[in-house]
Symmetry: C2
């Protein structure tokens, strides 16, 4: 049989033990921190009815939804009716559905850490399956929802030992005020927001260019957008804050109150910067929005905001909601060039601690198999981690112990069987210890180093 | 806006906090047990290339694979080429692919706990998204692979406090020997196995009936199958073991060795029964197969076997592999009528412990907001779980504390601000404690009961 393609599907990754244990440790730290902040866990299915998701993420987002083919005979289906289910695109929309279904929309704080799927073009550091770590406060107005969201995410970043980062805050109404100040048609606002959202990635010059091009091609009224574009220089943020429409908005007061509460509540506060040009790609935000960016990183490592209308769109029942999400991949990538690895050698990294205390029980010969298992079980009964050899040459067995980085080898041959003992070898220094079978606690003491 | 459907998609479930925390505790116990048995964790993506999965689960299995629609313009695609990806149907095949890709197929023991997806008709207790808990030994022959698989799964069931259960073992070659003894055409073997697999669920009579009907309709040679069917009575198992073809098979020796090692190695051993009529639905098993059934339960709570040829089918490179899987839903269902719940009242169950130690910080008035957050952060800094109120009437805030089952309420009003203290109320008995802000450790002592 020919060698088959064993790579994971494009944009997805296999996690081998070392990488997985690092991820798991990070996730458990986040769970603890979020629970400490009063959030409870909730999980929703991997897929939703397609109708639950479509139309909520904006045009670009909708295109990236993975759709699931209907089962059974589909030859009679229209081309646009081939799918009935879809993989979740984020955790936010399914959670809103689940919270509404459970009747919790008026008083509930949930966290959720799990994979989401987007049909992005796969590229270095961009995945089609990636993890989001969400916190959301349902039924909580301003500024409490905003502050608690930022406090929890900040604590999460601290727990993951992320170094320097900055919290950028804004509010959708300020972007509307900016558009109003430039007399931009309300029909053209979305276009402006979509392009402004790229500012941090592509810079002022390219953003201005794209604004002009798209205004000319797509806008109801291109002139005011082009006017805005010509003003896009690094000091434009200050100018925006000075605009009457912006300065007098209630949202500015809200953002200042958030800044003030954070400053007083958090000792090791990172910079909290009001950025009136911060836009967020997703359509569903209605008020406050934020992004957290690490020093020197172009991509946000966290983001979110208030989305009071989403609950109504999803469930028909309105509710105040604010929340945000940490991007696990981007955070873990900060101190590792690339997390996933598929080479056997890498499998070893980071496992030392786990494997240091694992007993590698060799199998001397077939006639001792049952007794060897009996011994293994007794050692497991003491709480020790035990890897029992399958057999073969002793040299091969020792090679496997070495590969697996197991520090402690147990020999139980006919000599040992006769003297009712075992030999424990410390592969770190070659020392051998003879231990009586009725004193297995001595094995535990040696392995645990106590 | 009309009320929209907020139920999860058919066959899937939302997990609210109480149910989720119970599941999570079970999963963590399994992780510990599997690691103690020398297995390391591995995770694969939710979806695979369709070609990786198709053709490995048998005809019935293939029909239940959820397929993902190609992205972009699909109007030009043939009807049978609309999907390129598929949700994983089990953990076994993707893990085999990942292990081959990592070059670990000759010496690796992995566990994996995660959801799989099958387009089953949804019914009570049968889900389209459900969790499997796998252990597999790659590059490990008989009987080591068989014994370690059963030891790990047995330990897992013990850790989950599953009561009485029985381990049924068999080997595919014995089923072949049975067919040979009845001179059943090799082309008809699959048909016989598929029907025999239903024996435990539908009983001898119905199995015999179905065998006869399908033999008449589908078999190359119906007569020997009908002959077999007429012999299907409760004492048929004994008769099969006495057949020369069966009794002389190497597989009987293997099964006896497994029984013997388990009997000697495990103190609290459940019954290990050689059932020569045990078949397993999946096509990929080549040798040993097993199922574990709880007392009184019809469905297996665990199952697996040896599948030496699968690695070759998946990767083109052969390897010895044995493993098995616990069905989390069926195990958790043993002591709970139904796990998932979507009623708010149920959300409370099982949360008491978590919520008993959560501080509910009320917000007396808006002017104290920043100071209240400051206080919350200091209490969190001591390691306490803190839920900070968003505001509103104090009565509403207390109602929320009650709903959330938070035992400890903190009041910080203008009196407290002036005297630099807080009031801690134990909602369990109504007692109030006045505590100075420079002595917050006293709060921790009260809450922790130390």
């Amino acid at each position: 049989m020919a060698k088959r393609n064993t790579k994971p599907a494009s944009g997805t990754r296999d996690f081998l033990p070392a990488a997985l244990l690092r991820r798991r440790a990070a996730i458990r730290r986040l769970e603890e921190v979020f629970e400490q902040h009063g959030f409870l866990p909730l999980e929703t299915p991997a897929f939703e009815r397609l109708e639950t998701l479509e139309g909520l993420y904006g045009e670009e987002g909708d295109k990236l939804i993975f759709k699931i083919l209907r089962r059974g005979d589909i030859s009679e289906q229209d081309a646009d009716n081939l799918a009935d289910l879809a993989l979740r695109y984020d955790l936010t929309v399914p959670a809103a559905r689940a919270v509404a279904q459970a009747g919790l929309q008026h008083n509930f704080r949930r966290y959720q850490i799990g994979p989401v799927w987007r049909a992005e073009r796969a590229a270095a550091g961009r995945f089609r399956e990636f993890w989001q770590c969400d916190v959301d406060l349902y039924g909580v107005g301003s500024p409490a929802g905003e502050i608690e969201t930022l406090l929890a995410l900040h604590a999460g970043l601290q727990a993951l030992e992320v170094g320097d980062y900055t919290i950028y805050i804004n509010a959708r109404p300020l972007l509307v005020a900016l558009c109003d100040a430039f007399a931009i048609d309300s029909a053209d606002r979305k276009l402006v927001l979509i392009v402004l959202d790229k500012l941090d990635k592509i810079g002022f010059e390219k953003t201005a260019e794209e604004l002009k091009t798209r205004a000319t091609q797509e806008a109801q009224n291109a002139k005011p957008i082009i006017e805005l574009a010509t003003r896009l220089t690094p000091d434009f943020r200050e100018q925006v804050l000075a605009l009457e429409e912006v300065a007098e908005s209630d949202s500015v007061q809200l953002l200042q109150e958030i800044q003030s509460c954070l400053t007083r509540g958090v000792q090791d506060l990172p910079a909290v910067v009001l950025d009136p040009l911060l836009a967020r790609g997703l359509d569903y935000y209605t008020g406050f929005i934020f992004e957290i960016r690490a020093e020197g990183g172009k991509d946000a490592i966290a983001g979110g905001g208030r989305y009071d209308d989403l609950m109504k769109a999803v469930s028909g029942v309105a509710s105040q909601v604010c929340g945000g999400s940490l991007g696990l991949e981007r955070i873990l990538a900060l101190d590792e060039a690339e997390l996933p690895n598929t080479k056997q050698s890498d499998n070893k990294q980071g496992l030392q601690q786990t494997q240091q205390q694992t007993l590698h029980i060799t199998l001397f010969d077939e006639t001792l198999r049952a007794q060897t298992y009996q011994l293994s079980q007794e050692l497991r009964g003491l709480g020790l981690a035990v890897f029992t050899e399958s057999g073969g040459k002793l040299a091969t067995q020792l090679k496997r112990a070495d590969e697996a980085e197991h520090r402690w080898c147990v020999f139980y041959g006919s000599d040992e069987a006769q003297s009712r003992s075992l030999t424990l070898k410390d592969l770190a220094n070659g020392e051998e210890h003879k231990i009586a079978l009725d004193n297995l606690e001595a094995v535990k003491k040696l392995v645990r180093g106590t």
